[in-house]
Symmetry: C2
Subunit: 329 residues, 2 copies
């Protein structure tokens, strides 16, 4: 490139104390305000992390080698960086920030690395799982908006492990999807299907993230749960899951996904449910009423939360495409 085109403000003689401001000034050449702000915060925290830990060259190299291995093990069916984000609590935090929930609505939780887009469409009453070793479970749910009105035609994506704690995509020799399906809520906002009772299982721990967990003396287990994802125009995309109460890992989920409001009891079908849904009496039963938040409510709440957070930083904020950037005027 033509050196006369260099527009970077001059930096020189960098020290522990002035390196951060120099990097920020260099990056400030960026014209996109959001990118510039995200990089400013990223560099500031990265540098403060090194300064506050007095990070040694050896530790720095170990960290870079760890990240390299995390990247290397990623494949079409394994995303180790998501897993790393999950076990550090970053995934659940980002979900909570991006999908704020007003009181009374259904909370979100981590997507996890096992969602897949190849699930078949299901009719009401269909079986989600072909695993005959699992304990049969009738699932009857409804979807309403925050004013209690049923929402029809919501696309609901559901996925769970088999009775050994493995998702279909974890089997190399599988033929087609299993333990997952997509259905739509009916005019009463109801959707129902047959599944198996979720079991606890370990996240993949044969890679670098598993090694980190062992180093930290943490276990890799998640409590038994069933994933749900809700999509309908006009409503904020909801990624959530229901967790079984009294699971041995209920309070030590390796990926910090459990929220009180998402913990459920497995009930038993009484005569009415048994007749209506054609299962034997006393059949295991899971019911839940999901409450979706409109896009408008979500945007307003997200913007309000952003202003509070930027106030804490002592910075004036303006919103660009729904995301905060410092307002320099």
């Amino acid at each position: 490139m033509d050196p006369s085109q260099v527009k970077i403000p001059p930096t020189k003689d960098l020290t522990v104390d002035n390196i951060t401001e120099n990097v920020l000034r260099t990056n400030a050449v960026c014209e996109d305000e959001r990118t510039k702000y995200v990089l400013e915060r990223l560099v500031s925290h990265l540098h403060d992390f090194a300064r506050e830990t007095r990070l040694s060259s050896r530790e720095w190299m170990a960290g870079l080698q760890f990240l390299t291995e995390v990247g290397k093990i990623c494949s079409e069916v394994r995303q180790e960086f998501i897993l790393l984000s999950d076990i550090l609590g970053l995934s659940i935090l980002v979900d909570s920030i991006d999908h704020p929930k007003p009181p009374g609505s259904t909370e979100g939780t981590v997507l996890g690395p096992f969602h897949s887009h190849e699930a078949d469409d299901m009719a009401h009453g269909d079986c989600l799982s072909r695993d005959v070793q699992g304990e049969p479970l009738l699932v009857v749910c409804s979807v309403t908006d925050t004013r209690g009105r049923p929402v029809e035609g919501v696309k609901v994506d559901i996925w769970e492990t088999d009775s050994t704690g493995h998702y279909d995509v974890q089997y190399a020799g599988r033929c087609g999807p299993d333990g997952r399906g997509v259905m739509r809520s009916d005019s009463a906002g109801v959707f129902w299907f047959k599944a198996i009772t979720p079991v606890p299982y370990p996240i993949p721990h044969d890679g670098p993230v598993g090694r980190l967990l062992r180093l930290l003396r943490r276990h890799p287990y998640r409590p038994g749960h069933m994933h749900f994802m809700f999509e309908r125009e006009g409503f904020d995309h909801l990624i959530t899951a229901l967790y079984l109460r009294n699971d041995p890992y209920e309070t030590s989920d390796a990926v910090f996904g459990v929220k009180d409001s998402l913990v459920v009891d497995i009930g038993r079908a009484g005569p009415e449910y048994a007749k209506k849904y054609q299962v034997p009496e006393d059949h295991a039963l899971l019911t839940y009423d999901f409450v979706l938040v409109s896009d408008a409510e979500t945007s307003a709440l997200r913007e309000r939360n952003s202003k509070v957070a930027m106030d804490h930083l002592g910075r004036k904020v303006k919103m660009v495409n729904g995301l905060p950037v410092p307002d320099l005027d």
Copy 2:
């Protein structure tokens, strides 16, 4: 694993506000004090970064995909994570923290991704570079300790690009090392060799790090420089480089490596040098006196700096294996 062995303190009902303390409490099960402290600071900064930027799920995913690509492109001869650390100013910061320099000693700078362990041993006066297109340069240097005493037998590792701005390892079809060599200082602390005048060159920018630089509107160039690495028992390992004054990229080095004290002028050999080192008069000449710091001086300075940094955080510190951890007593 046996769930009764779970020693993780209970976490539940995580929110934007309490997720960090929950993750820290979980990681605190770790028995290694230094690991625990580094992870505590890492998680705190990672979470604050997300909270302060109001990081969106889309941005989070873009970030994880970027890191995955950085990992994927790494190979035996390319370390893209080092490059990423370099362009964010982290590498130079960590070097400054881990290798603090008292006044008058030679400052360190970034190692860069092109050091290799396959350099040949050189005798004084040997040629570092076989590139006949380069401008010949006589290099005459000395090594002393901080009291000005010559240091003999220092292993000096030197590497530079060819005249097109490429290191040997960047050529797929190369046969053996070039532009690099290892020599030892003599009894007067002197080492000298023939090389070529360094030229500016871009860091590898055909990968994800190059994409990030373009997004930030930054160029990938480094000013012309020659790398030096010094090793001798009893002295702190010194990784440094000398930069040419008035290089077009002197004040906008893509990896923030330039320090005032490492910027040099290319001189011309007078009659004495010409005769002593058997070069024509007016031959291009680079001279520099390197000052090494003893291990003991470095440790003391590193520890003093650590205490100041931990004071800023309002935390009592104790040193474990030369690195700080909070002192809880």
